[in-house]
Each structure stands twice: as structure tokens, then as C-alpha cells.
């Protein structure tokens, strides 16, 4: 199956925030979508420019509760900053023309729950959710057994 077919059948998208969003606003966006584990930072032109993981955000917000916080987490906690300073700008994306199997392989490799699908300009088209894929597999198995 192609990614474009998958996102047409499963139109949900990953949480996104503007590049100047604060840490609190980013967390709020994540909490608005139960089960979401990845937040993407989008530029004013609508291009996806960065990725923030649930675990990374939690480690920053709760840095003082971490038994061995890193100095980076401490400074991010103390000095705060917009999403563009906290984000990881090197992150895997999916293209609409590739096979879904390839995308799942990259999701597992990089531990990404919701992988964004972008066009050649980096504009957000949708997302491949690992949970949605699992549900689809379960439904397909039930159908086969039934």
C-alpha cells in the first residue's frame, strides 16, 4: 500500500505547533490529543521544520524530578525557549509516493509513533500513526479469521 492511499483512508494528523510556541503551549497541544507521542514544529509557510518527542518534553518539564538530569535539560527547564530552540531538526519524514512498509521500518528504527507525511516542499500532508496501523492489522486479521 502507498502512503498516499493510507493517509486518504486515515486522515488524522500529528500534533503541530508554530516555531515560536512556548514549552507550555507545546505540552498543551500534545495533551489535547490523547495517545499522541510526537509533536511537529511548522514554519509560517506551513513546512514541517522540527520534531519534539513526548519523552524529550517530559524530561524537560520534569527535569528537577529526574534522578540524573542532563545539564541540557536543566538549562531548557530554567531558561525555557520557543519550540524552534528545543526541536530536533533532523527527523525522518514520509513521502506520499513511498510504500507504507518502508515508513513503518523507519518509524521502528527511529522510535516514532506518528510520522509526518510531507510533499517535496516539506508541507504537511498527514501522518502515519503506528497505533492506527496496528488497529488496521488487527481488523485485517479478524476479517481473515472470520
Amino acid at each position: 500500500m502507498k502512503v498516499s492511499e493510507w493517509i486518504a483512508a486515515n486522515p488524522g494528523a500529528a500534533p503541530t505547533v508554530a516555531s515560536d510556541a512556548s514549552l507550555v503551549a507545546t505540552i498543551e497541544e500534545l495533551l489535547r490529543r490523547p495517545g499522541a507521542r510526537d509533536v511537529y514544529v511548522v514554519s509560517d509557510e506551513g513546512r514541517v521544520i522540527g520534531h519534539l518527542s513526548y519523552k524529550g518534553l517530559i524530561r524537560t518539564v520534569l527535569a528537577e524530578h529526574h534522578p540524573w538530569p542532563t545539564r541540557r535539560q536543566l538549562m531548557e527547564k530554567v531558561a525555557g525557549g520557543p519550540a524552534r530552540e528545543m526541536m530536533n531538526s533532523h527527523f525522518p519524514t514520509a513521502s506520499p509516493d513511498e510504500k507504507l512498509d518502508n515508513v513503518l521500518h523507519r518509524q521502528l528504527e527511529h522510535d516514532i509513533e506518528d510520522m509526518v507525511v510531507v510533499d517535496s516542499d516539506g508541507v504537511l500532508l498527514g501522518a502515519v500513526s503506528m497505533t492506527a496501523v496496528l488497529k488496521a492489522l488487527r481488523d485485517a486479521n479478524r476479517h481473515t479469521r472470520g
Binding site: 528537577e64 540524573w68 541540557r72 527547564k77 530554567v78 531558561a79 530536533n88
Partner: protein, 404 residues
């Protein structure tokens, strides 16, 4: 070949002993650091080290300087220019105050108790090295107390900011102190200092630029750790061979790598952050193996002078800095006391003193003074943090009582 194998075996046994005693200490509620040092002491020359022919200094020199280079790289990369701009006046001025306060107080105290020279090295040099190391604190020990007692408030926030930054100022001051003390005269010292500082900064920037060029070809995430370690070793190696400061070059390398590759913080630093506990295990066990009770007992006055002067300096310096910045009274009054803990970075800095030929004769004195005082701070420090938080009314139970 046999020598190399024996060295590997001894270092392996040293680290294994530290790890095992650390695990036991954790179960007993004793700080792991104390167990690491104790394991090291077992391998000191007067105990197992002598009969086994284990010379901690010569066997672990490359290991400790690499480990300290890693810590300097991580500390440089933990700070961005944007964060420095956003960090409040209270944190920055308190940081300057406590760093200078501890440095000046330790320098004066060491000069007061040490004669004109010690082991052929001037007392000024020893005082300067110890004064620079006094700037560092112990983020992990401080945070453990804040977490345990659910401390919240302006003092806790200021404390978090200062402990996140003062190891950086300590490493920079230490690198500058080494640069100045290794000059033959004050004039040549200052001239050399200018060359070494500018050269080290240039080397760090060049290394980060080359790493950013290389990183474009690193599509496989598993290649980042070897690439960073290779770049770091090349950087500190070139610095050492050309008479520059490996520490300054490494800290600038980390800082400029994060600046050049904005948004690559996780890739640049997370692999090395995973090694941080190994680095501190190395520092404390190796420092423990340098333990010399006779030397320590001959220098009790020096240990006492360093211990009290650092506390007094941090108290006065942080108070002045915080007051100038307009901090609330509970911050200016108690911040200095909460900065008492001292740990791994100070020990790591002390271990590298012996690597500089001019300073090598005072290496054992510096290691034993820092190790001895770190143990004392390890015992007293958490109580000082707790006391400061309690007096500032920021402990969880106190806040709840006040609300009730």
C-alpha cells in the same frame, strides 16, 4: 603487550569494584560517590595498589583527560546564546558573585596557610588552581535534595539555574588558571595566555565546523557517537600537542557545535550524555586510588582552609550578586549555602593537574585536597541545601503547613 594487558586488567578491576560498591551503597542509602572513592582507595599504593604495581596516575592519564574532555564538551553544549539571553539577572549575577566569591576566598585562604612554595611550585599557582576548582558545584546532589523535599519557589529556581551554569564557569576559570600558571613569568604568562585562549577558541570552532560538514554524511544514527568521540579526541590531542588548552577547546567545541547545528542537540550530545555516569565512576575511583592519608594529614590546614573559604566565598558572593540583581530576600540570603555541594567536575579537574609538567609536583596535593573536601561536602552539603530551603520556606511540607 603484557604491560598493556595488566593495565587494562587493573583499570577494569578498579571500575568493577567501584560499580559493585556503588550498587551496595545505593541499597544502604549511602551516596554512590562515597562508594566509588572507597573502591579507589582499596587500589591506592598503600593498600592493594602497591603490591599489584598499579600506578593510577600513569595508567589512567589518557582515560581521565578524555573523560574530562567529554564533560567539558557536554557542558559547552548545554548552553545556547538564546538561553543565556533569557536567563534572568538574578541567576547570572548570583553566578558571577558566587564564582568570584569562592575563587577569591579560596585564593586568600590557601595563600594564608601555604608557605611561599610547595614541592617546588609557587603557592600562588596552587592557590589559583584550587580557586578555579572552587567555582564548581554538584547539580546531581543538589537536585536530589530539591526532589526529596519537593522544594518549590524562587530560591529553588535560582539554584537550578546557578548549578546548571557554574560548572561551565569553573572549567573556563580552571583552563585560564592553568594557562596563566604554566607561563615562565607574568609577562610571558600573559602573552602565552592570549595565544592559548584565542588558539583554543579557534580550535574548538574549527572542530565543530568540521563535525558539521562530516555530519551531512552521517545518515546512520549509530555513527554519531564514534564521530563525536573521534572529533573530540582529535581536538584535545591537537590542543595538547600545540600547547593550547584541551579543556577550553573542548568546551568551545560543544558550544559552537550546538550553535552551528541548531536543532541537532540530541544527536550531538545524547550519545555522550549516556556515558556521564561512566565518566564520574572513572573520576572518583581513580581519585580514590590517588588517596594518600599521610599527604592529607600533612595538609589538614589546607583542606580546612579550602573547605571553609569556599563556603564563605559562595555565601558572600551569591548574596551580593543576588542583591545587586534585586532578588527577593529568601534568595539572596540562602542561595550561597545551597551551593555547598562539590563533586565530579572538581575531582576531574584536580586529576588533570598532574598532566601539566609545571604543575605535576602539586598534582597529588590538589587531588587529595579536592577529594577530601568533596567527601566532606558530600556529607554536609545535602544538609546545607535542606537547611537553606527550609529557612526560605520552600520545602513541600512547610508550604503545606503555611497553606493549612
Amino acid at each position: 603487550m603484557l604491560d598493556i594487558a595488566a593495565t587494562h586488567l587493573m583499570i577494569g578491576l578498579l571500575l568493577s569494584a567501584g560499580l559493585m560498591l556503588g550498587l551496595i551503597a545505593t541499597r544502604l542509602g549511602i551516596p554512590r560517590v562515597t562508594a566509588y572513592v572507597f573502591a579507589g582507595v582499596i587500589f591506592s599504593p598503600k593498600l592493594l595498589g602497591g603490591p599489584l604495581g598499579f600506578e593510577a596516575g600513569s595508567a589512567t592519564g589518557a582515560l581521565t583527560s578524555t573523560a574530562l574532555g567529554m564533560i567539558a564538551y557536554l557542558i559547552g553544549g548545554s548552553i545556547t546564546t538564546g538561553q543565556l539571553r533569557r536567563t534572568g539577572r538574578v541567576i547570572l549575577l548570583a553566578l558571577v558573585g558566587e564564582t568570584l566569591g569562592a575563587g577569591v576566598a579560596v585564593w586568600l585562604a590557601v595563600r594564608a596557610v601555604v608557605p611561599a612554595e610547595i614541592n617546588g611550585v609557587s603557592a600562588d599557582s596552587l592557590a589559583l588552581i584550587l580557586a578555579a576548582a572552587a567555582a564548581t558545584t554538584a547539580p546531581a546532589a543538589t537536585l536530589a535534595v530539591l526532589h526529596q523535599y519537593r522544594a518549590r519557589g524562587p530560591l529553588s529556581e535560582a539554584l537550578l539555574g546557578v548549578v546548571a551554569l557554574d560548572d561551565a564557569t569553573g572549567i573556563i576559570l580552571f583552563a585560564l588558571a592553568v594557562v596563566v600558571t604554566t607561563g615562565a613569568t607574568i609577562l610571558t604568562g600573559l602573552a602565552l595566555a592570549g595565544f592559548e585562549i584565542i588558539g583554543s577558541i579557534g580550535l574548538g570552532i574549527a572542530a565543530s565546523y568540521l563535525l558539521s560538514r562530516l555530519s551531512r554524511h552521517l545518515h546512520d544514527g549509530s555513527l554519531w557517537l564514534p564521530a563525536i568521540i573521534a572529533a573530540l579526541l582529535v581536538t584535545i590531542g591537537i590542543a595538547g600537542l600545540t600547547g593550547l588548552s584541551p579543556l577550553l577547546a573542548a568546551i568551545v567545541f560543544g558550544f559552537s557545535a550546538r550553535f552551528i547545528q541548531a536543532g541537532a542537540g540530541d544527536r550531538l550530545f545524547a550519545p555522550i550524555e549516556q556515558l556521564e555516569e561512566f565518566v564520574f565512576l572513572t573520576f572518583f575511583t581513580v581519585a580514590g586510588a590517588h588517596f594518600d592519608f599521610e599527604l592529607l594529614s600533612r595538609n589538614v590546614a589546607l583542606v580546612g582552609a579550602y573547605f571553609f573559604a569556599r563556603v564563605v566565598g559562595k555565601l558572600i558572593g551569591a548574596t551580593v550578586g543576588a542583591r545587586v540583581a534585586g532578588a527577593p530576600p529568601q534568595v539572596s540570603r540562602w542561595l550561597g549555602l545551597a551551593l555547598m555541594p562539590q563533586a565530579g567536575v572538581a575531582v576531574g579537574l584536580a586529576l588533570t593537574v598532574a598532566h601539566y609538567p609545571v604543575l605535576a609536583p602539586i598534582g597529588p596535593v590538589v587531588v587529595n585536597v579536592i577529594l577530601g573536601t568533596t567527601m566532606l561536602y558530600e556529607m554536609v552539603g545535602p544538609f546545607a541545601v535542606h537547611f537553606a530551603m527550609d529557612r526560605a520556606g520552600e520545602l513541600g511540607e512547610r508550604r503545606e503547613r503555611a497553606r493549612a
